[in-house]
Symmetry: C2
Subunit: 325 residues, 2 copies
């Protein structure tokens, strides 16, 4: 099959047709026409087979995840997602694989009314790069740098499930059968907290999505905002699968350092706590206060009101590939 | 070295600081603020090592080319380039390599006042995906679909040099030493016809950039516009290196089918010929009329006013990788 046929066949037939897409797939460029008085938020994430997902991950999950991790970045800015560009490098043409991959891509795009506007298909080792774009009214975005000492630290949903799934796959941890489906789904089909992010525009002083792990991502907020933080371990919304599987010190370790949760971590001033909690409840998102920011330059943790010393060694690319060795 | 340090060190220090970039590298997303009443043109191209460039290509050339091929797509729409996102997958961290790669990226960005606003760095087989964005006043873009029978067909610059360089590298053709530098440069450091593209907004009825070969790309215009075309071989602006190296039938073959020239192919109505030629001369771009569009559904060629039958078999990904076998 020729490249052009491949593009036409799989990627030009889609349900979403946004009014702000003036020209979609099929020319040298796509043309979009943003609403007036909006910032365009732009983010790019690459998933490499064997590094960002195990080689035997289902194509539908790969499709879903390649979009979700980008929508998650848009959510963390408070953007409304609008358009995605998809560059996919495939070792060979396997029509069933591409079919399933497209299911994963398009079901998420349809849910959020996001249109695929272009991309590239090339031959080589399996890898997917998505650039996602969204819109935010002028000055209404949430950066990493607006947090203040005294602000409260919150997280959406639950954490640690994706990291547990990964350890289970790697054979480091044995998870009870009743939790296996749930945590696998957490790893393979992360939710992007899109509506939560938009609701937070009015309330949050900073936000980031949890991709590298709670402490690693909190560190980005702390560095960008010039604050420190204390995390109250007792209050962490830890996945039941995780707290039921591992002992105390190990599950906190995984909850703090494990990545891939794609929940939102954000800060809110004292005055905005109640308003934010009501607004987030209206979007159907659970939120939990997990600590407070302070004037130090450190991230500390407490358990039962006592300081706990936890060594932080988070996942980073280039230090070690997770799967491919 | 950690990923975050890598990003900071190489990609955040840049000369270009555009006013319409509200937030650059360093948060979950970049934020840009387009001018009012503009379309945003978006394009994505991936270069895979061993497929889109030989494995021993200089990192500076790879950096240059990864930006140039995307700016070329913007040029073909008539867009003014504004922002690029760069996703790079590297097998290992080689600081000299990255340094040189960045020289290639940033010298082109600076020349066109394009700002790098984000991206991703991952570990894996060498591959680069760039998403480039530009701005075009409402309705002033040039699509592939506006050509009419009777319009004249033009091309910028010269063609065939890049394809000759590739054949030389592959050992299929022996090029005289005096031409080797010139054609290697054509292949490694393609020019994106950015100013020509913007000048053509007022004149061209259709445009495309030459990446897959003259006939293959002309076919896209013909299909999108519902026209046929005749190419006058005698008038092709063939690189002297090519016409001096190969015999008649072979050099036409390479000029028609060889890719990677990144010149603009476009159509202009009879009424706009003179205006266009003047405007393009003012941008410093040579243009050549190479034929005319017609009401057929075929692409034909003539030489000395006689029809010539040339079998067209152009380069496509997935039919055969050019370098890696």
């Amino acid at each position: 099959m020729k490249e052009f046929e491949l593009i036409r066949r799989y990627f030009t037939e889609q349900v979403v047709k946004r009014k702000d897409v003036h020209l979609g797939i099929g020319d040298d460029c796509a043309l979009v026409t943003p609403s007036e008085r909006q910032h365009i938020a732009v983010t790019t994430d690459t998933l490499v087979a064997g590094v960002h997902f195990p080689l035997d991950t289902s194509p539908r999950a790969i499709g879903h995840k390649s979009i979700a991790v980008n929508l998650s970045d848009l959510a963390a800015m408070g953007a409304e997602p609008s358009w995605v560009s998809l560059a996919i490098t495939l070792p060979e043409i396997d029509e069933n694989w591409i079919d399933e991959f497209c299911v994963g891509v398009f079901e998420l795009c349809e849910f959020y009314n996001v249109q695929l506007i272009g991309g590239d298909t090339t031959q080589g080792p399996l890898s997917i790069t998505v650039t996602a774009q969204g819109q935010i009214p002028f000055e209404k975005y949430i950066s990493r740098s607006g947090a203040k000492a005294g602000d409260w630290l919150y997280v959406t949903g639950e954490i640690g499930g994706a990291a547990l799934a990964l350890q289970h796959i790697l054979g480091n941890v044995k998870v009870a059968p009743k939790y296996q489906d749930e945590i696998q789904k957490r790893l393979d089909f992360p939710k992007a907290r899109v509506l939560a992010g938009q609701a937070l525009r009015e309330y949050a002083t900073s936000a980031i999505d949890l991709s590298d792990g709670l402490v690693a991502d909190l560190k980005h907020i702390c560095e960008a905002s010039g604050v420190g933080a204390n995390i109250v371990l007792d209050d962490l919304p830890i996945s039941e699968a995780l707290s039921d599987t591992l002992g105390l010190e190990h599950f906190y370790d995984l909850a703090l350092k494990g990545g891939d949760d794609y929940e939102l971590l954000f800060s809110v001033s004292e005055d905005n706590k109640v308003g934010m909690e009501t607004a987030l409840a209206n979007t159907g998102n659970k939120v939990t206060c997990i600590g407070q920011l302070n004037g130090s330059d450190k991230i500390t943790t407490t358990l039962n009101n006592e300081p706990v010393n936890i060594k932080i060694q988070n996942y980073e690319h280039f230090t070690k590939s997770t799967f491919d060795e």
